[in-house]
């Protein structure tokens, strides 16, 4: 295991403060811009709403100073910026004639997300504590994943059964399940990585693990196929399986897992393609989105992005409302239209930075669990961005997933804030100078024996 360099580490909290001021300023300018473009006047609530948003962001910053002073200084400003821009776009789409009224709800969920993230920083002073609940998290994760299938509370929205509803309140449990299962994967793989990578025989030049070690992998595969088949949710299925394969590879350092994983996923996808008409429709629209008489949602998104061109129409001056789900699944085309290719690049780079910071926390982290967890969380964001942005830009067939931090949707926002809190926690651990007087009693991974059961 590697450690960070031995130079006296700086907390970098002041860097974070400066970046955070810039992020909040950009969001406030964007908000003012929308008001000026649509109503020819500054929004009346610029001071109150904008001030509230700034206070929430700076409160989080203060919590970090107190509870995780060595945390990565870039994550919070980026996430604040993305969350803020998402709010601005959702608000902008609310303003179109006949538009929804999603911004207040999104603002509330932003607050909930931040509170959850702050609470997590308090409740979990060390991420290794999460290992105590490995199997509880795993069980809870898979149960949550399957709850939309239950009668009464399961809800089918827009053709995918990925929602649960409780008394007028709907929630996408797969978002929370994603975190729980990532923790479970990380913990389980750290335990079994040696068995998985060292024991087994070679078949056709590929080192295959033993059947008993294959078990959980097959369960993960079946669970993700189940999501695909019974919930018609290709995106979530792809996300979970990709996440698992990625983490497995990092844990075992064996490429055979990637080949096995991709092979299994392709086989499952092909089977689903043969079995389900709506899946074939998705694929055919992927090849040609402009088929008369078929769904034109990709086509409308593409035309929106094309209308934006290089520099975009400017916030409030395009017609993102012409695209379906313009504030959720298709919020990326909305940004492409109004901020242009330049703005879209900036947003993608921000996501790239989050992922890169997450992976860096993984590399710098001193314990295997932390490494795997940070890598898994970062990779899940990368996968999710790839699946949703790739879907609207025709890199892959369109599937329903939310864009992290941007899309309107409470469960997604809450889950992503929690992910960021975890990454902050792990990066704090990674960059913190180890206290020579207080040996890390939890760090037993380094001397762990090879368990072959």
């Amino acid at each position: 295991m590697s450690t960070v360099d031995e130079a006296p580490p700086k907390t970098r909290r002041n860097t974070e403060l400066v970046l955070l001021i810039v992020a909040v300023a950009i969001v406030l300018i964007a908000y003012a811009n929308v008001g000026l473009a649509i109503d020819d006047s500054l929004p009346v609530d610029l001071v109150t709403l904008g001030g509230g948003f700034a206070i929430v962001a700076f409160a989080f910053h203060l919590v970090l100073r107190w509870k995780a002073p060595y945390a990565d200084p870039v994550l919070l400003p980026i996430v604040t910026l993305l969350n803020g821009l998402g709010l601005v776009m959702i608000h902008r789409i609310d303003l179109t004639p006949g538009g929804p009224n999603a911004a207040p709800k999104q603002l509330m969920w932003t607050a909930v997300g931040v509170i959850a993230a702050v609470a997590l920083l308090f409740v979990v002073p060390d991420h290794r504590r999460l290992r105590r609940y490995t199997f509880i998290f795993g069980l809870a994760g898979f149960v949550l994943l399957l709850t939309p299938l239950l009668p009464l509370i399961g809800k089918n929205i827009n053709g995918s059964r990925v929602w649960i509803g409780l008394g007028g309140f709907s929630f996408q449990p797969s978002e929370i399940a994603k975190i729980l299962i990532t923790i479970f994967f990380a913990s389980y793989l750290v335990q079994t990585r040696d068995a998985l990578s060292l024991v087994g025989r070679r078949v056709l030049g590929l080192p295959l693990p033993r059947a008993r070690d294959m078990g959980p992998i097959m369960i993960a595969w079946l669970a993700s196929l189940g999501v695909l088949v019974f919930e018609s949710d290709l995106g979530t299925s792809l996300l979970f399986f990709g996440l698992f394969v990625g983490m497995l590879y990092v844990a075992t350092e064996r490429r055979s897992w990637i080949i096995i994983g991709i092979g299994l996923f392709l086989a499952g996808s092909y089977l689903a393609y043969l079995l389900f008409a709506h899946f074939q429709e998705r694929v055919s629209l992927w090849f040609d989105p402009f088929q008369p008489g078929k769904s034109d949602q990709i086509a409308k998104g593409l035309m929106g992005m094309a209308a934006g061109g290089m520099f975009g129409t400017g916030l409030g001056q395009g017609h993102p409302e012409l695209t379906y789900f313009a504030n959720s699944d298709f919020i990326i085309p909305s940004f492409g239209e109004e901020l242009g290719l330049v703005g879209l690049f900036a947003i993608l780079v921000l996501y790239g930075l989050i992922v890169e910071r997450g992976l860096r926390a993984g590399i710098a982290c001193r314990d295997g669990f932390g490494k795997l967890l940070a890598t898994g969380l970062a990779f899940s964001i990368a996968l999710q961005v790839f699946v949703v942005v790739g879907g609207v830009t025709r890199v892959i067939p369109l599937t329903g997933l939310t864009t992290p931090f941007l899309s309107a949707g409470g469960s997604s926002l809450l889950a992503n804030w929690v992910i960021v809190a975890l990454l902050l926690r792990i990066s704090n651990q990674a960059r913190q100078p180890s206290d020579p007087e207080r040996p890390e009693r939890l760090s037993t991974d380094d001397t762990q024996v090879v368990k072959i059961r």
Binding site: V250, H319, L322, L344, L348, L359, A382, G390, R394
Partner: protein, 484 residues
């Protein structure tokens, strides 16, 4: 575990790169073609968000955009109502556009590449963008005369400047009011469009250039005469057989003249006289003697079967293939399966008037940006040279006698030499003939060539002939141009 995390980082980098590339393809490489996809509402909304250029006739706008308070910002108005509909077309939010509104959309909307530099200046100076205006070649008086003359009848009129090909009048009847389709009350627009497109009289059709082609009847004799004179075997004085009726070879049916009796003493008639009185038997025989190749070749030189854009596409006129003798005899007098547009027939007259040089017809004179700088002008172009100037001048003289003492006296204008040819085309039993007149004036210095078509004899009905119904209309239109 650090090496695989780094490698995973590379995978993530590759994934993000693919997204960046895909976004670039959509928003940069394919942006233009996506913008131009049919049914792209954003492009449509964008085109409404700035002032669309006017369409002008003379100094007056026949189509212009006026600001409104609703979401579409600019309302397209056609102050003359239906009069210029055939030329301007309509500009509808729901149903797109037609005619010049459609063909010159790039200029009118201001999106043409030729306006790029000017657009750039607008962006820098912060002025609101505005489309370029399009000046039509139409002559307001001629258009008015043509519109009035067709009222209550179905038909079409085309008037050309024979020297340039500029279209001076283009009328079709019945027609429609483009204001109905340009309205921002989209329900109203929908019901208007449904009504117009279901109307059996087909008001949305431009009969001058599209849709229904008509048997040209005796106006086709101009082309027979041209073929005869160009062959070198005939002069205007050549003698042709002119019986009261001609037995069609290989059949028991007879092809009669439009009038009782023969065409001249001893069943003989000169070529010139045969044209003057529109002798069917003489021309049926002439057609058979020349052969179908010679007749078809002359028709093709005049433009039959050839595509043409004015800028709207003109449906090619038809001279049928593989004719039997009897069919050739009928085709020579513009019957059987010969079909022509009024535009084509006007072009034939214009070619004779212009000494044998047929000019390409055009409807748009120039395009000017909002500062009135000319961006584009249409230069007259020769479409074809179907006949020599000698043939043209002989035909000119012969066609003058049609108007001075033949079937076309109704087109005579006092004090001015008028040349022309009538046509009365049967098209199936039980219906009245489609009647034609085509000609030009003044014959010694042609300023206007016209073709007039009235379907089913117009208001006259069964008694209608080209000379009776179409010739007086042609006279009114030609007078309007010459300024009498």
């Amino acid at each position: 575990m650090n090496a695989p995390i780094r490698r995973l980082g590379l995978v993530v980098a590759a994934m993000f790169c693919s997204l960046l590339v895909a976004a670039t393809i959509i928003q940069f490489a394919q942006a233009r073609s996506l913008d131009n996809k049919p049914g792209n509402r954003r492009t449509l909304l964008a085109s409404y968000s700035k002032e669309r250029g006017s369409i002008l006739v003379g100094g007056n706008a026949v189509a212009y955009s006026s600001p409104t308070d609703d979401q579409l910002k600019w309302l397209r108005k056609y102050p003359q109502g239906p009069m210029y509909a055939a030329a301007t077309g309509y500009y509808s939010f729901t149903y797109g556009s037609s005619a010049v509104e459609r063909e010159y959309n790039d200029f009118l909307s201001g999106s043409s590449d030729k306006l790029f530099y000017r657009r750039l200046v607008d962006i820098v100076t912060g002025k609101s963008a505005q489309g370029a205006s399009v000046q039509l070649t139409l002559n307001a008086k001629a258009q008015q005369a043509a519109t009035n003359a067709l009222k209550g009848q179905r038909g079409a009129i085309v008037a050309l400047d024979p020297k340039t090909g500029a279209i001076l009048a283009m009328a079709t009847s019945p027609t429609y009011d483009p204001n109905l389709l340009a309205s921002h009350d989209l329900n109203e627009v929908q019901s208007a469009f449904t009504r117009l497109s279901k109307d059996p009289a087909q008001p949305l059709l431009n009969r001058a250039i599209n849709g229904n082609l008509y048997p040209p009847g005796s106006t086709f004799k101009i082309i027979d005469t041209a073929a005869a004179l160009e062959s070198g075997k005939y002069t205007p004085d050549s003698t042709l057989p002119g019986p009261a009726s001609l037995r069609l070879p290989g059949t028991n049916s007879y092809l009669p003249n439009d009038f009782p009796g023969n065409c001249g003493p001893g069943d003989k008639v000169s070529l010139s006289r045969a044209l003057t009185i529109s002798c069917n038997t003489a021309y049926a025989q002439l057609g058979m003697d020349l052969g179908q190749d010679a007749v078809r070749s002359m028709a093709t030189k005049f433009g039959f079967g050839r595509s043409l854009d004015i800028p709207m596409t003109v449906t090619p006129s038809v001279f049928p293939k593989d004719l039997g003798k009897a069919q050739l005899a009928q085709s020579a007098i513009g019957q059987f399966d010969v079909r022509a547009t009024p535009m084509q027939i006007a072009m034939v007259s214009a070619a004779v008037a212009n000494g044998g040089k047929e000019m390409s017809p055009y409807l748009v004179q120039s395009v000017r940006d909002k500062n009135l700088d000319v961006i584009q002008t249409t230069d007259p172009k020769t479409f074809s040279t179907p006949i020599s100037s000698d043939t043209a001048s002989q035909l000119n003289t012969m066609m003058q006698s049609v108007v001075s003492d033949g079937t076309g006296t109704g087109a005579a204008i006092p004090g001015i030499k008028v040349a022309g040819k009538t046509g009365t085309a049967e098209h199936g039993s039980g219906t009245n003939a489609d009647v034609w007149f085509t000609g030009f004036a003044p014959a010694d210095n042609p300023k206007v060539a016209v073709a007039v078509l009235v379907e089913n004899g117009g208001t006259v009905g069964q008694e209608a002939t080209g000379g009776l119904v179409a010739a007086p209309i042609a006279k009114q239109v030609m007078e309007a141009v010459i300024g009498k």
